[in-house]
């Protein structure tokens, strides 16, 4: 790591600001510190000793505000009640996700993975500078001093770190700050560390983007067409004019809808309902989900376009033809909506000097930042994005198109820009006008020999690519294969003899988007229910059967086998109480290994009740164990709830669902208990936001099969395909 050694800025800044120590990186990537404010910091320390972590990832509940603060507090030597956090401004050079390149954003369960060393280094640099300043002040060797609980101690003295901020802010950042040895950790890995955002979220003071009321703001809602790609031709707002608080309506410059402006949200909702819009549907999407499903099923019956793992497909087929037993099934996964609890919204304003400010629960700040530079024809530094708390996302706040932020900008540019505009979506907008987990189909044939071992696994996948045609195409698509369509299959740690994976892209039918765990949402279901079916056909225990294909000595197999064994042990695998059935699944995603055992009572015909889910996760170093447990609990609920009973369907291009009654969320009564175990590990931290989701539904499906005469659900959701729930 190289250091910016120009002292001029530091000294100047130190004289001006005096009592603030900031440590961060320069746009060239060098770790730097200064008393000046011209540095974009990861940590800011005031003269009163107040320490603030500057969090570059947004907080949608997955825990980075607590997590990145933990890293800083650990390395400085603070208690968690001695640190606070702020969200970083949008800056793709400094606050980028290091796994995304020069792009600031949260996704792919990478927040901790890409921040772990960066934020620890910033905290360690701050500690060394504060200790150096104390050593100079006291005239002692720095090695005699220590910093813990915010107090510097040594040479028979002690003082709070705030006493040394002024002097420390004149020092240069160490080139290679020494990170704490894991044996010294007090906070990282400590299960008693609590979230920093619990209190404000329990007393109503947490500020989500929806809660912003800027002085003189208008609320805008958009009348959108029922079919994608329809365009607005004209509208009649005579009825809307009777709504108290209605201001105006105007067709968006891109014709994608009609913006309705009002003094408050309720007036905007009513006025929009009263608007009569004429749409041009000549180029609109008019397909139904039945047609999408038929196209996918037809693709599965044909030779795949892409041979994903360059398999000898003929040899695989020959092996299956010659097998003693063949197990096969065809799967279908419907469109799914993300439906975060806080409907999409953001507020845009223009300052007196012409700057644009976006207030948003911004998952990918660089996306709207770049879009705004284009829309407003402004340099990036004239646009500010203020990240607020987000009421969930599951991927929805991060479309490459920056759809809702662009909508807000278009609604804003049609005004005289004297009033801030708060764009608000309703739940109906969210479910009907949105982006969806694409529908996918899989067709799998597995051949087993006389001994019940796999001799061939032919696996076809068909569905709509998420990444093609987006800025992420170069990143995610290789040799035509969109990795997000097949992740969790050919790259699985399983060592399956004669495995052949093929992919066919189907036509674009609607807007699709990554949805918590992306491709793994369908691939894990197929891999893990097929493994179960093969185990049953082989007369083998499902855990033992899987372990045959995880016998390799690479870490990938060992870690996956490790969580599988531990989950079986913790769940009392094979010893379910009378009347109960168990199912297991194990899957690697986003670098983490998760095994889950679902234990149910009842059966598909009489009603299934999910009594318990036991989960084991290996995600490397567990920075905040309780946050990790919470993410597993939430990920399990997300996977199970949707696969139990949710789907988005289209009739003539129009979404059939309106609101939660038609897209019933998981409810508190659906899962009676979840128990999570974390595998101790010294490996670098990997994802936790998504990996809990993929194994949940197949583990449930396998439990249902075990309790229902081997009944298999291959078309989802379950309650639409023969499973009733108690």
């Amino acid at each position: 790591m190289t250091i910016n050694t120009s002292r001029r800025g530091f000294l100047k800044g130190a004289a001006a600001a005096g009592a603030v120590l900031v440590v961060g990186i320069r746009p060239n990537g060098a770790l730097a510190a200064s008393g000046a404010t011209n540095l974009n910091p990861f940590v800011k320390i005031g003269a009163n000793g107040s320490v603030t972590a500057i969090v570059k990832h947004f907080e949608k509940g997955q825990g980075p505000a607590t997590g990145l603060s933990t890293l800083i507090a650990e390395e400085i030597g603070l208690r968690m009640d001695q640190i606070d956090y702020d969200f970083a401004p949008s800056n793709p050079q400094v606050y980028n996700n290091t796994l995304f390149g020069p792009f600031q954003g949260t996704g792919g369960s990478t927040a901790m993975a890409n921040s772990y060393l960066q934020y620890r280094q910033a905290g360690a640099a701050a500690r060394e500078m504060l200790l150096q300043a104390a050593a100079q002040t006291w005239g002692v060797e720095v090695s005699t001093l220590s910093l813990q609980d915010g107090i510097i101690t040594g040479a028979d003295q002690s003082a709070p770190l705030g006493d040394f901020v002024e002097l420390a802010s004149t020092l240069e950042a160490p080139a290679e700050p020494t990170l704490k040895d894991p044996s010294e950790f007090r906070l990282i890995g400590n299960p008693d560390v609590r979230r920093l955002d619990s209190a404000i979220k329990g007393n109503g003071t947490a500020m989500f983007a929806m809660d912003l009321h800027l002085p003189n703001q208008m609320v805008a809602m958009i009348a959108r067409p029922e079919q994608q790609r329809a365009t607005a031709v004209s509208f009649d707002d005579s009825a809307a004019r009777d709504v108290t608080g209605f201001i105006n309506a105007a067709i968006l410059p891109n014709l994608a809808g009609v913006a309705v402006y009002a003094e408050n949200t309720w007036a905007a909702m009513q006025a929009r309902d009263a608007l009569d819009v004429t749409w041009d549907t000549s180029n609109a999407e008019n397909r139904s989900s039945d047609e999408i499903e038929a196209e996918i099923r037809a693709a599965l019956a044909a030779e795949p376009t892409y041979n994903v793992n360059q398999a000898d497909v003929a040899a695989t087929r020959a092996a299956i033809e010659g097998a003693a037993t063949v197990v096969e099934d065809t799967f279908y996964f419907p469109l799914l909506a993300h439906a975060p609890m806080e409907p999409l919204n953001c507020t845009i304003e223009q300052t007196a000097d012409g700057k644009i400010i976006l207030h948003d629960g911004a998952q990918m700040p660089t996306g709207p930042h770049m879009a705004y530079a284009e829309i407003f024809q402004l340099p990036m530094d004239q646009i500010e994005i203020r990240t607020m708390l987000a009421g969930g996302s599951f991927g929805r706040r991060a479309p490459p198109s920056a759809d809702y932020q662009v909508e807000a900008a278009l609604a804003f540019i049609m005004t005289d820009r004297t009033r801030p505009v708060h764009l608000v979506w309703s739940r109906e907008d969210d479910l009907r006008s949105g982006y969806y987990r694409p529908a996918f189909g899989h067709k799998v044939r597995v051949g087993l020999d006389e001994a019940g071992n796999i001799v061939g696994w032919e696996h076809r996948i068909a569905g709509q690519s998420i990444m093609k045609g987006t800025p992420f195409e170069a990143f995610a698509v290789h040799d035509g294969v969109d990795h997000s369509s097949i992740e969790g299959t050919a790259d699985s740690p399983y060592q399956i003899p004669g495995a052949a994976f093929g992919l066919t892209d189907t036509e674009k039918a609607t807007s699709t988007l990554w949805w918590r765990a992306v491709g793994h949402t369908h691939t894990a279901y197929v891999m893990e229910t097929m493994m179960d079916m093969a185990a049953t056909a082989a007369g083998a225990d499902p855990v033992d059967f899987r372990l045959r294909y995880l016998a390799g000595d690479e870490a990938d197999q060992q870690r996956k086998a490790g969580v599988l064994r531990l989950a079986a042990e913790r769940a009392g695998w094979g010893n379910a109480p009378a009347g109960r059935s168990q199912g297991i699944a194990v899957h690697k995603s986003f670098g983490s290994y998760v095994a889950e055992v679902v234990e149910i009572s009842g059966n598909a015909e009489d009603g299934v009740r999910i009594e318990k889910v036991t989960c084991v996760v290996d995600c490397g170093v567990a920075v905040n164990p309780d946050v990790i447990k919470a993410q597993m609990e939430g990920g399990i609920g997300y996977g199970i709830g949707h696969n139990m009973r949710d789907q988005i369907t289209l009739t003539g291009g129009v979404v059939d669902q309106y609101n939660f009654p038609d897209y019933e969320p998981l409810r508190i009564s659906d899962i009676k208990e979840i128990e999570v175990h974390i595998v101790p590990s010294a490996e670098p931290p990997t994802g936790v936001g998504e990996p809990g989701t993929p194994p949940a539904a197949p583990a449930l499906a396998n439990a249902i099969a075990a309790g229902s005469n081997n009944m298999r659900v291959a078309t989802l959701p379950m309650d639409d395909n023969g499973v009733s729930f108690a």
């Binding site: 003071t205 609320v219 806080e342 409907p343 939660f660 508190i668």
Partner: protein, 154 residues
């Protein structure tokens, strides 16, 4: 129409059309944003407030029907001993994730513990069924309610 609202012990004079949901008066007129908009059709519970001590969905409660009633929102529930116990338990158990539904969860849970100080897990499930949490924090909500029950018993 001019309406006199009693909210968290204070009286507010507000101007609103009949048929306006209480939710939007609380949020947009009184700027008390702890009460959330989630669905608008009483299907998620994020907008739960108390009307004379009983949890109601403020998105389906109309302004003309609440004149003279005592309305309590999350901002004042810590003054209630059950509310305070639940908030303490919520912090102890780190119930929240995104947090957007949690005002409503706590307001409903106050209603539950007022009626039933020591609910079983199934009783909690039955009472709290209408409060959706898309982050699926349910198991901690259940544990948080049981913990609050213990706090109140002590």
């Amino acid at each position: 129409m001019a309406i006199s609202l009693t909210l968290n012990g204070k009286t507010h004079a507000v101007e609103a059309e009949p048929g306006t949901p209480l939710l939007w008066v609380i949020r947009d007129e009184l700027k008390m944003t702890g009460t959330k908009f989630g669905c608008g059709v009483a299907s998620c519970g994020a907008c739960t407030v108390h009307l004379d001590g009983t949890p109601v969905r403020s998105c389906q409660t109309y302004i003309e029907d609440v004149e003279g009633a005592e309305i309590t929102t999350i901002e004042a529930i810590s003054e209630d001993r059950i509310g305070a116990a639940l908030q303490q338990a919520w912090i102890e158990m780190d119930v929240v994730q995104c947090g957007y539904c949690q005002s409503g969860q706590i307001m409903s849970a106050v209603g539950l513990l007022s009626e039933n100080p020591k609910p079983t897990a199934d009783e909690i499930d039955e009472y709290m069924w209408g409060n959706a949490c898309r982050c699926a924090t349910y198991q901690r909500i259940r544990a948080g309610i049981q913990r609050a029950s213990e706090i109140l018993e002590a």
